[in-house]
């Protein structure tokens, strides 16, 4: 009786690894072979289940969907990642902001992270408008999908606000004056702006409650003009505040699409 030749080295190593307790604790089941098990492998995985198990063929009709929504989400992830890398070198104070951005281009390895972040931001604004345009053209806002359209509009505003807050961070001439002009709008807010209609109504006798040092614009800028306070506030809004809100609304937005049976399905 001839003995079997030993298994190849790689096969033996692989069998050994997959027999260890650590492996079995991480990967509880083997590769799924039935349809049901393959579906379950996606459905029950914390990362994979964020994407549907199966999608309709209509979901990949690029001439119909343009894939702009997906692109926008992808760019959001790119922005998050590049933004995170920028945060290791950028300090949001008047003393350091401008030079840190210069250094990110000239001293930091690779030197293109700031530009990638900026181009990604521009691309995301463009793709979100194209996505909106596509949804309009395909009538995907019609009942019962009106709510998701509104969530999308809020996401559009948040995208533009991300661009607005991020624009201040390099602290150059463009940044300071653009944000000065943009935030000056806040002082014309009805009731809450010191130059807006109705601000006099909120006075206690002679004492003005809503003035340049206490109106909505003051709270937005953390000061009477665009300075140290505004830079820090816009940094926090840009890196934490708005992305958090946008993330929650994106979850709602995507969930609504899935609830309706997937992208570009019939009404």
């Amino acid at each position: 009786m001839a003995t079997k030749p030993p298994e190849p080295f790689l096969t033996r190593t692989w069998d050994y690894i997959t027999d260890t307790q650590i492996w079995k604790s991480i990967f509880r089941h083997g590769m799924p072979s039935t349809s049901r098990n393959r579906a379950l492998a996606v459905m029950t995985n914390v990362f994979l289940h964020l994407h549907p198990v199966k999608i309709r063929k209509s979901g990949v009709r690029l001439k119909f969907t343009w894939c702009m929504g997906g692109l926008t989400f992808f760019l959001f992830l790119v922005e998050t990642f590049t933004g995170l890398l920028l945060m290791f070198y950028y300090r949001p104070t008047v003393a350091f902001a401008y030079m840190d951005i210069v250094d990110l281009a000239e001293q930091v390895p690779l030197g293109i992270m700031r530009e990638l972040h900026r181009w990604g931001g521009h691309a995301m604004v463009i793709s979100v408008w194209l996505h909106m345009f596509r949804v309009f053209m395909t009538g995907s806002y019609k009942p019962p999908r009106e709510f998701n359209w509104n969530v999308g509009v809020i996401l559009l505003v948040l995208t533009l606000l991300l661009s607005f807050t991020g624009y201040l961070l390099p602290w150059d001439q463009l940044a300071v004056w653009a944000i000065t002009v943009g935030s000056n709008m806040a002082r014309a807010t009805p009731l809450l702006g010191h130059e807006g209609p109705g601000s006099q109504l909120l006075a206690l006798g002679d004492v003005k409650m809503v003035h340049a040092g206490s109106d909505a614009r003051f709270a937005l800028l953390g000061g009477r003009f665009v300075g140290e306070g505004a830079l820090l506030r816009f940094y926090v809004l840009h890196c934490v505040g708005i992305p958090l809100v946008a993330g929650i609304l994106m979850a709602v937005h995507f969930w609504r699409v899935r609830k309706d049976g997937g992208i570009s399905g019939p009404v």
Partner: protein, 176 residues
């Protein structure tokens, strides 16, 4: 069973009944929770309005009237406080260096005898009145008075707008 109900209806007999306790504690609990939640929200909103500003003070002493030449626009306070001091034969006034178009900082051009904004080209006469470019109204004046020690005191917290007739207000100019 009837005796139990009667006993429950008379709390002074054996303390508070369960029904009476729930009837009391639920509204109290909700009121307390709402009060806590509301005050947290108010405190959060209040925290967004800073108490300490790292900005130059709104009012400052600008030296003695004798330090200014008649007919000149003085730019020494423009970078630090955003104000031009103008001395005319009859009076002083302080113009706030914020363009009334969109808020940029104009520059005084003595050769052309005008204020000119670099952003969109708004032009203002020495008096502050707009005459060219997109600016819709004249520059604003700050309150200007004589301090106790004889120095000029400029106070930006009070502004005077010509288009509202506020340049008639005696605190918008200083007669020396």
């Amino acid at each position: 069973m009837v005796e139990d109900k009667e006993a429950a209806a008379k709390p002074e007999v054996e303390g508070v009944s369960r029904r009476a306790f729930m009837k009391w504690s639920l509204p109290v609990g909700w009121v307390a929770f709402s009060a806590a939640a509301a005050s947290s929200l108010v405190a959060t909103a209040r925290s967004l309005f800073p108490n300490v500003l790292f900005e130059p003070p709104q009012s400052f002493k600008a030296g003695f009237p004798s330090e200014y030449n008649v007919g000149e626009v003085d730019v020494r306070w423009k970078d630090g406080f955003g104000v031009w001091i103008v001395r005319e034969p009859q009076e002083f006034y302080a113009l706030i260096a914020v363009c009334t178009h969109l808020g940029c900082s104009p520059n005084w051009l003595p050769a052309e005898n005008k204020f000119k904004c670099p952003c969109h080209g708004s032009g203002f006469y020495k008096s502050g009145v707009n005459f060219e470019g997109p600016a819709p109204r004249p520059l604003e004046r700050a309150r200007i008075v004589l301090a106790d020690d004889g120095q000029i005191l400029v106070d930006k917290s009070l502004k005077f707008q010509k288009e509202k007739g506020e340049w008639e207000n005696p605190e918008s100019f200083l007669k020396v």
